[in-house]
Amino acid sequence: MSFLTVQNLTATYGVSQALFGVDLTMAEGEVTALMGRNGMGKSTTVKAVCQMIRSEGTLTLDGLNLHDLPSHKVARKGVGLVPEGRRCFADLTVRENLVAAARPGDWNMAKVTELFPRLGERESQRAASLSGGEQQMLAIGRALMTNPRLLILDEATEGLAPIIRQEIWAALRRLKQETSVAILLIDKSLKELAAVSDKAVILERGKTVWAGAMADLTPEISERYVGV
């Protein structure tokens, strides 16, 4: 049985239907890229998994029906979300952001600051005063502090300087190699996604149109559905 199972997932925003049948399965420790052009339902799928919006269809994590849980309980069951647009707790310091999110497990302040040394250097600085890249690192660190079994990153490198993007991709590669956390990635950089992901799932108009091993994703398929 797969770790995360999403089958025929549908969701609506008011009267507009956003998801028409998303299928996605992930094994433990697996890195999956959720791909598709803008507006195809990637972020909506993530919000549905995290129970931030109402949805219908099969949605299970380790056999547990996520529809039965409120958003915060989904997080407690091991789903760590790094939301789009970073959004740290601006009035708290780096350390406080991490402490506020901490749950028992392997991840702690020392491990997070070892993964992102910049955060260690700015431990007592307010999150609002950090650069965009540092805020993104903090958002990832904050999600890791919850000791997730599934880490979801929604456009984690969007709008960041190349050097910062490299640091974040390097951290994700380390996470893949050194931990058993499953990672679901949404990103526009196909090259980086291909380097780190085991699998890819492509959405078009709120529906899964292709799923398979990253190695099987041919340029034709990515050109057709992702545009790169």
Partner: protein, 328 residues
């Protein structure tokens, strides 16, 4: 020139302790009572500061807990002093004159009421939260007015101040000592709570509910717990206030008092550890000195408040430290 907030905090506490000692030395018992009043109001506002300053919940009905604390003292002491039984249906008691017992009852009753008020009012936010807490305040106010058994609109007088083991509470400096010690304990707990994971998560919930949920915390639970703790602290202050005046009346439930508690926090600095303490000292000083000059002293208080809101948004502590925000 700006000052470190820790020095300001230390100076305020030293000043608050030194003034009554000086008054004792110069035989000015009224000054001691005045400072005691400031200390008790500060304690009530520290309770409110927990939810207002850290949690961002503007409760316009915190006088409910102040009043419950006051009536807890009034009712227990009244039955003890008149040797009449207090029959609660399932439980009968002769009341008590013991301050620690009264404090405990005041805090428990306030916490229970805060739980139910919080459960209902925290479903709302912003102006609706302000209005619903105000509505609860008014409910309790009018209930107290119609509660003829305990004095109704006239309130309830207690002949002798309640007792504390080993102390003579009728001696102003000794009663001040009790209140000051309680304020210090609560301030210490407040500072620990502020930097604890709970306090940080509460602060985070003020900033964004949804993000708090993504890290596995229920913002409603955080806010409700803070509301209950806050109510209990303000209830404790209410019991002390009633003991200070040896009198309890429905005005302890009034919306004006709820507003004054907010004003104290704004004057000193929202979310600051010593904000409510400085606010209470300024308020009581103005009330006393300007009150001697004119009965319309609130006009001057209004002008000062206006200046602070317009020109010093971090309150007096913000002005002195040069940091508008309570944080870092």
């Amino acid at each position: 020139m700006t000052l470190d907030e820790r020095y300001i905090n230390g100076l305020v506490l030293i000043g608050l302790l030194a003034l009554p000692l000086w008054a004792l030395a110069t035989d000015e018992p009224f000054t001691i009572t005045l400072v005691t009043r400031a200390v008790i109001l500060a304690l009530a506002a520290v309770g409110l500061n927990l939810i207002l300053g850290i949690g961002g919940m503007v409760s316009f009905g915190h006088a409910v807990f102040f009043g419950i604390g006051g009536y807890a003292m009034g009712i227990l002491a009244y039955h003890a002093q008149t040797y009449t039984a207090l029959d609660l249906g399932f439980f009968e008691t002769d009341g008590t004159n013991s301050m620690p017992v009264i404090w405990l009852v005041a805090m428990i009753m306030s916490a229970i009421v805060a739980f139910f008020i919080g459960l209902l009012s925290l479903r709302t936010s912003g102006v609706y939260f302000i209005m619903i807490t105000l509505a609860f305040g008014q409910m309790f106010f009018y209930f107290a007015i119609s509660w003829a058994q305990y004095g109704g609109e006239d309130g309830l007088s207690i002949y002798v101040r309640n007792g504390f083991p080993g102390l003579n509470t009728l001696v102003p400096i000794q009663f001040f000592g009790i209140c000051f010690a309680l304020l210090c304990i609560v301030l210490f707990l407040f500072s620990r709570l502020q930097s604890s994971p709970f306090g940080l998560a509460l602060n985070a919930a003020r900033q964004t509910n949804a993000r708090v949920e993504t890290v596995g915390l229920n913002p409603m639970h955080l806010k409700l717990l803070a509301f209950v703790i806050s109510g209990a602290i303000t209830g404790l202050a209410g019991a002390l206030f009633a003991d200070l005046n040896r009198f309890v009346s429905p005005t302890m439930f009034s919306w004006q008092l709820s507003g004054e508690l907010i004003v104290l926090i704004i004057i000193g600095g929202v979310g600051r550890l010593m904000g409510p303490v400085i606010g209470a000292c300024v308020f009581v000083a103005l009330e006393h000195f300007l009150g001697e000059l004119t009965e319309f002293w609130h006009v001057y208080l209004g002008i000062i408040l206006l200046c602070i809101v317009l020109f010093g948004r971090g309150g007096l502590i913000g002005l002195l430290t040069g940091k508008e925000g309570a944080h870092v």
